[in-house]
Structure formats: structure tokens, C-alpha cells
């Protein structure tokens, strides 16, 4: 590791090479000069001074861009949180789900006399679920929102491409990405309150096995988000004693899946594991209904979202959906004081959130709400909205410790902090326990579908069970 120590300057900096990824050219200049050894004897004192100054200036510039400055940035006006997710495209349902949590939290913060004297707002940034669109969207978001202090997202669709960009801009992000690549994230501003996709695959396998299914068919879309579930689903189901009789990767949004369905029927599974966009799964399952007969289907959290349920319910009939469908999603109890506060505020936000009741029991909306509250309380603890200062307080907001006062809303947290107490925020998404990689995973619940549109609880798969069968 390269350590460059500069002393004798106003505000001494210690810059580690690992922090200099975006300033590498400058560091290389420095290294090159070092490798040349002692300056040649014929170099004048003035020239050597000039070179030294240039080197020092370069390193100081690099340092300024990568480490915390001495004083926090001053903000005027409304503070901005972003919901950075797909609002259009195959995963268009992700964005509104996230925005529901953000808007609800922001409204409650504003009603609680604001955040450090500022009002807050939520903006929607549409990634279209495609890295090619998400990267410019991220750059535009960072360039045009000077008061951006935190965000929810990105999703699995665009996380690999955009997390480094957002991290480099020092914006804390609470990703809903399920990619296992972030299980051991080294990005200082990356947080995740929901389990990775591969854990969802395990929960699906465990539930299927508990239900007595032994011949599974994995039918997943060819998008990143869906495919993230597959490896651990396959290995966990095998470990449990089941057999994957078919593993299909579907090209999304085709007009026909009859050949794929024919192969499924020939493989004789007793359960289908799936995640694909609503139109794909609707076409696939309706063509299964036409060519053979429906069998139990176990989906992931995106299949519990209203667009998926509407599309598939419309295609195969809501009665069939109720009869055959179950889905694994992160467990959020949807009861208790934190949830009451969340749900009341959510339902009151009907002018900003269409059909808010659809997000009442949605674990992602709940954790997105929690994320905004956690960031806001961290700002209060740090006494500044400057992310480079408040980021280090984020784990402290949720940390369990003896004597900590458990708070269930932003207002309770602010009041407790004002009273000089140590707090532990526990929101509607449940307790947050960050590991060293700032991931907090928990249990899964299996939900079904009722004709009235609700998702009744079917079963719970504990975090221990998930870990046991996870590769």
C-alpha cells in the first residue's frame, strides 16, 4: 500500500492508494518520480523546487478529492434524497416501490420540523433497468443535484455499473440490488438492508422442499436481476435432496414461449421456480395453461409486486394465481409501532403515491423508508448533511448496545438524540444488523395471493436456514 504523508501544510492529509482509484494518474506521476531516484546533479535548485511543488500540488489535489475535508459543506434550501431505480422498462415496478418508502419518510421528516433546519424532498431517477441508461442517469443526477445527500438504490439491473460512480461521489446509497457481488462490498458508501438474490433462491428451495416438492424447474429471465437467484437455488435444492429437472433461461418479452413450455411439460416438474418480467411470466404461464396444466409456482419478491400479479393474474386468472402461487420475500413483520407510523404516513401520501396501500406490507418499500430515516438520523448525529461526515454515523444509528434507546421513527430518534441519549433505530423493516460489509440480511417469508389482491403469509424461512444451505 502506498502511503503519502504530507506534513507542514494547512490540514495534513494521509492518502492511501486504495482511496485513490479516481486519481491514479496523479499517483503514477509521483511514483515515476520516486523511481527515478535522486534528482540529477545538473538539475537546478529552482527546477527541483518546481518539480517538488508540482508533485505536492498533485497529491494535495488527489487528497482533496478523496478524503474528508476539514469542514462540512454548507447546504442551503431543500435536501434531496434520490430513488435511483427503474421506473420504465421491464423492471418498472421497482421504482414506484422504492419511491413510496422515500416519499413517506421525507414527508414525516418535514412534518417533524425538518432535518437540521432543512426541508427534504425525494426525486425519482429512472435507470430504465439498463446499465447503458443508468450510467448517464447517475452522472446527471450527481451533476445536477447539488443538495443530494443520500439515495435509495441502485437495483440489481444497474448496480455493478453505477455503484462505483456513486461511491466516488461520496453519496451514501442503500441499494436494493440483490447481487452476490456486493456480499463483501468494499465501497464505503454502499449499504444494503435486504438479502441478496442468491439468498432468495435458497429460501425458495427450502420452502419447496418443506412443501414436499422434489422435482423443480428453474424458469428465469435472462436479465441480471433474475439470474442472480439461480446458482444458489440449484445448489440448495440439490443439497436438500430435490432434483432440478429443467433449468431454462428465457429471452424476455417474446411473443411465444410454447417451445419452452413444451420442454417444461416433458421434464415433468412438480414445482416451477421463477423470476422474469411480468409480460414474460404471463405469456409463459398462460401458454403452460393452454398446453398442459398449471403446477405450483414459487417466485421471488418482484413477483409479489402489483404489475406482475396483475399481468399474470390477467393471463391465467386470479383464481389460478391464488391456487398455485407463492413467493419468497424478505421478512418484514408489518406490525408494531414503527410499521404503524410508516403505514399511517404512507396512506396519507395519496396525493404523491398512487394507490399507497399496495406498499403497506411491501418489505422493500419499508426498508427504503428505513434507509431515509437512518441517513437522516445519522445527519442529526453528525450535525451536518454532508455525506463525507455523516456516513460514518450510519452504522451507529442502528447499532444495538446496552443502554441504547430503541426508536421507531425519525421524530423519536431526533427527540432522543436531543435528550443526549444513544439510539438504536428499529423501523418497520425490523432491526438492522450491519456486517463488516454494511450488509444486513434477515429472514424470508413466503406469501401467497388472495383474490382480493392481498398477499397472505404462508411460511417463514429463518436466516439460519438460509445460511445453512447457501453456498
Amino acid at each position: 500500500m502506498l502511503d503519502v504523508s504530507l506534513t507542514g501544510f494547512p490540514g495534513a492529509y494521509i492518502v492511501r492508494s486504495s482511496q485513490l482509484s479516481d486519481k491514479l494518474p496523479l499517483v503514477r506521476i509521483k511514483l515515476k518520480i520516486e523511481r527515478t531516484g535522486n534528482r540529477p546533479a545538473h538539475l537546478s535548485v529552482r527546477a527541483s523546487l518546481a518539480v517538488s511543488l508540482a508533485v505536492v500540488t498533485a497529491v494535495v489535489v488527489a487528497a482533496c478529492g478523496t478524503t474528508q475535508s476539514a469542514t462540512p459543506k454548507t447546504y442551503t434550501g431543500t435536501l434531496t434524497f434520490a430513488s435511483f431505480n427503474p421506473f420504465t422498462g421491464p423492471d418498472a415496478s421497482f421504482g414506484p416501490e422504492m419511491a413510496a418508502g422515500c416519499i413517506t419518510a421525507s414527508n414525516l421528516i418535514n412534518q417533524s420540523s425538518g432535518l437540521l433546519g432543512h426541508q427534504t424532498e425525494c426525486i425519482a431517477v429512472d435507470t430504465r433497468g439498463d446499465p447503458a441508461d443508468a450510467v448517464p442517469a447517475a452522472q446527471k443526477m450527481l451533476a445536477t443535484n447539488t443538495n443530494l445527500v443520500g439515495m435509495n438504490g441502485p437495483s440489481s439491473d444497474e448496480a455493478l455499473a453505477t455503484v462505483p460512480i456513486i461511491n466516488r461521489a461520496h453519496i451514501p446509497m442503500f441499494a436494493d440490488s440483490g447481487q452476490a457481488a456486493f456480499d463483501k462490498s468494499t465501497f464505503a458508501y454502499f449499504y444494503r438492508l435486504t438479502p441478496p438474490d442468491d439468498a432468495a433462491g435458497v429460501a425458495m428451495a427450502v420452502y419447496a422442499y418443506k412443501k414436499g416438492y422434489r422435482r423443480g424447474a428453474a424458469v428465469f429471465g435472462n436479465d441480471l436481476s433474475s439470474q442472480g437467484n439461480v446458482p444458489n437455488l440449484l445448489s440448495a435444492f440439490k443439497k436438500l435432496g430435490g432434483q432440478i429437472v429443467l433449468n431454462q433461461t428465457l429471452t424476455l418479452d417474446q411473443s411465444s414461449y410454447r417451445t419452452e413450455v413444451q420442454a417444461l411439460i416433458a421434464a415433468k416438474p412438480d414445482v416451477i421456480f421463477t423470476e422474469a418480467d411480468p409480460q414474460t411470466d404471463a405469456a409463459y404461464l398462460s401458454q403452460l395453461q393452454q398446453l398442459g396444466s398449471l403446477i405450483p409456482v414459487i417466485g421471488t419478491q418482484p413477483t409479489v409486486q402489483p404489475p406482475w400479479l396483475k399481468a399474470v393474474g390477467g393471463a391465467i386468472g386470479n383464481d389460478n394465481l391464488a391456487k398455485y402461487f407463492a413467493a419468497a420475500q424478505p421478512y418484514a413483520p408489518s406490525t408494531g409501532p414503527a410499521w404503524d407510523t410508516y403505514n399511517t404516513a404512507l396512506l396519507a401520501s395519496v396525493s404523491q403515491i398512487p394507490q399507497p396501500d399496495q406498499w403497506s406490507q411491501d418489505p422493500y418499500s419499508e426498508t427504503d423508508y428505513d434507509a431515509i430515516n437512518i441517513m437522516a438520523l445519522a445527519m442529526v448525529m453528525a450535525k451536518t448533511p454532508d455525506p463525507t461526515f455523516y456516513n460514518q454515523y450510519i452504522p451507529k444509528v442502528v447499532a444495538s448496545s446496552s443502554g441504547a434507546t430503541e426508536v421507531h421513527s425519525y421524530k423519536e430518534g431526533v427527540d432522543a438524540l436531543a435528550a443526549g441519549k444513544t439510539i438504536q433505530y428499529v423501523g418497520p423493516g425490523g432491526p438492522v444488523v450491519f456486517d463488516q460489509y454494511r450488509n444486513s440480511t434477515g429472514a424470508f417469508e413466503l406469501v401467497g395471493y388472495s383474490a382480493d389482491g392481498s398477499n397472505p403469509h404462508l411460511d417463514t424461512i429463518s436466516a439460519a436456514d438460509v445460511e445453512k444451505y447457501r453456498s
Binding site: F87, T88, G89, A92, S93, P96, N222, Q248, T249, L250, T251, D253, Q254, S255, S256, Y257, R258, T259, E260, Q262, A263, A266, P278, Q279, A282, A283, S286, Q287, Q289, Q290, L291, P306, P307, K310, A311, V312, G314, A315, I316, P354
Partner: protein, 295 residues
């Protein structure tokens, strides 16, 4: 291998939908020389028109006629009041493509604003299943294939047996000469848009009958195979589009059966590239040579 025969049957359904759409697309292009990339979105708009009628209690097959009428009028109006304004100013082929892309985005976003980002289904029964050897079709799929065959026959009769069809072919081959011969090319162009729009409307509804659900982007997602079928057959060639549709439809399903569903799109487009390498003008190409398509 035992899945090959059923896959051919499934390919015929896809080919039927593609054929209706691709013939409409190429028919309009052959007469007007406008590569209308908003075609898929017009399909979606027609599907929504049928949806509104269907959910007002109208039978889906009558909705099909409504969608065809809507598509015909919509396309003609679109040409008269948007595309033709650019053509009159001498806008070149590439710039016209950009205009059609803009129209595509406008239609998509207007539909999104009106209907919100969700999915829609028709009230339509797929009907009983019918077995032909190891091929299986539902009643609605058989209907789709019959509609495709009738549409193709109508196009054939139009082109070969009617004065209008001959006028369209003449306009497609050489508009200036056709005008000199007394053909009212402006009217012929209007009729081409009407017919293309009607086929577009029918294609939109049968596509949704096949996919079971749709959203504001469904038609646009189907545009690439439509263009592929049209190009494969020889752009501007209705018979070529039929041939291209059968090739693309069958190739996709057969590759899904024999290789992997993951390569469904790959196989069809690989065939397209190979054919175009061997025969750049497409399989059938009388008109294509005469126009400035290659340029």
C-alpha cells in the same frame, strides 16, 4: 428431437403474427419509402383501442376489426399531418427515420401517461386445444393463423387482380413515372397507409392474444423481428415479408427446441445475417433494386 414437430407448429403461430405485421410494414414502405419505426407503437395503440372496446363488453373478434379501423385511420392521419410534412420539405431517408423514432417515443409516452405503467389483458377465452399429430393449437391460435392466411390472400388479390394494386406496384417501382401515367400517387399513398395501418391494428391484437398481457412497450419490443422479417424477404416486398416471417418464426422456435431458449433470438438473427451476406437485397428483391434502399 421429439420437440421438433411441436416447435414447428408453435413457429407457425409466431410466423402468422409476424407475417401480418411485416406485410403491413413493408407494404407501406414499398409505396412511400418511409421506414416507419413507430410501427410497433401504432400496434400497441391499436391494442389499447381494442382493449377499451373489449372492456366495454365488445367481443374480442369485433375488437379486432375496431383495432384495424383505428390503425388505418391513425396511420393515414399520422402520414398526412406529420410524415408528409417532412417529405414535402424534401427530408432525406435518414432524417425521416429519426422523425419516426420521435413519433415512436411520443406514442409510447402518451400511452404511458394515459394508461399508467402496468399490464393489461383482454377478456378473451383461448378456446379448446386441438391436436394435429404432435402439434397443439388453441382455438384462438387457429383463428390467428386463419386471419393471417386471409390477410395474405387479400394482399395477393389486391396486388394482382385490382387496378388499385397495380397502381400501388407502379407507385412503388417508380412514383414519377406512375404520376406521368395518370396514377393519382397521393391517393395511392393514402391507401397504402390505410392498408398498412389496418394490418398493423390486426397484428397488435393478435400479438396480445398470443402474449396474454401487454403494456405500452409491447409493440415496440416486437418491432425488431418485424423489420427482420421484412428485410429478410427483401424490404418493400410483401411476398418477401411473408417468407421472412415464416423463416424468423420457425427459426426462433426450432432453435429453442434444439439448442436452448436462451439462443432463441440469436438463431433467428444469425439466419438474417447469413442470408443478407449471401443476398444483400433480401430473398425477393425486384423493387428493392429499383429504389434507393441500399443507399
Amino acid at each position: 428431437m421429439q420437440q421438433l414437430i411441436p416447435a414447428i407448429g408453435f413457429g407457425l403461430i409466431t410466423a402468422s403474427i409476424l407475417a401480418i405485421a411485416a406485410v403491413g410494414f413493408t407494404l407501406q414502405f414499398s409505396v412511400t419509402n418511409i421506414l416507419n419505426l413507430a410501427y410497433g407503437d401504432i400496434m400497441t395503440a391499436c391494442a389499447f383501442a381494442a382493449y377499451l372496446a373489449n372492456h366495454a363488453g365488445v367481443n374480442i373478434w369485433i375488437c379486432l376489426v375496431i383495432a384495424a379501423l383505428f390503425g388505418a385511420v391513425f396511420s393515414m392521419v399520422l402520414n398526412r399531418y406529420v410524415y408528409f410534412q417532412f417529405v414535402r420539405r424534401g427530408t432525406r431517408l435518414f432524417a425521416m427515420i429519426i422523425v419516426t423514432i420521435a413519433v415512436s417515443l411520443i406514442i409510447q409516452n402518451v400511452l404511458l401517461a394515459i394508461f399508467r405503467p402496468t399490464f393489461f389483458s383482454y377478456h378473451a377465452d383461448a378456446g379448446s386445444s386441438y391436436h394435429f399429430g404432435s402439434m397443439v393449437f388453441t382455438g384462438s391460435q387457429l383463428a390467428i393463423m386463419v386471419i393471417a392466411v386471409i390477410a395474405m390472400l387479400c394482399v395477393h388479390v389486391l396486388f394482382t387482380q385490382t387496378k388499385l394494386g397495380k397502381a400501388m406496384r407502379a407507385t412503388a417501382t417508380n412514383p414519377s413515372l406512375a404520376r406521368s401515367c395518370g396514377i393519382a400517387t397521393d391517393r395511392v399513398i393514402d391507401v397504402a397507409w390505410l392498408l398498412s395501418g389496418a394490418l398493423c391494428g390486426i397484428a397488435g391484437v393478435v400479438l396480445v392474444l398470443n402474449t396474454a398481457t401487454f403494456s405500452e412497450t409491447t409493440g415496440a419490443g416486437f418491432l425488431v423481428p418485424i423489420i427482420a422479417a421484412a428485410v429478410l424477404g427483401g424490404i418493400g416486398q410483401p411476398y418477401g415479408a411473408m417468407l421472412g416471417a415464416i423463416t424468423i418464426g420457425l427459426a426462433g422456435e426450432i432453435s429453442a427446441a434444439l439448442i436452448s431458449p436462451a439462443y432463441k433470438g440469436v438463431a433467428a438473427f444469425a439466419i438474417l445475417i447469413v442470408v443478407l451476406l449471401v443476398r444483400p437485397q433480401g430473398i425477393l428483391s425486384e423493387v428493392a433494386d429499383a429504389k434507393e434502399v441500399a443507399a
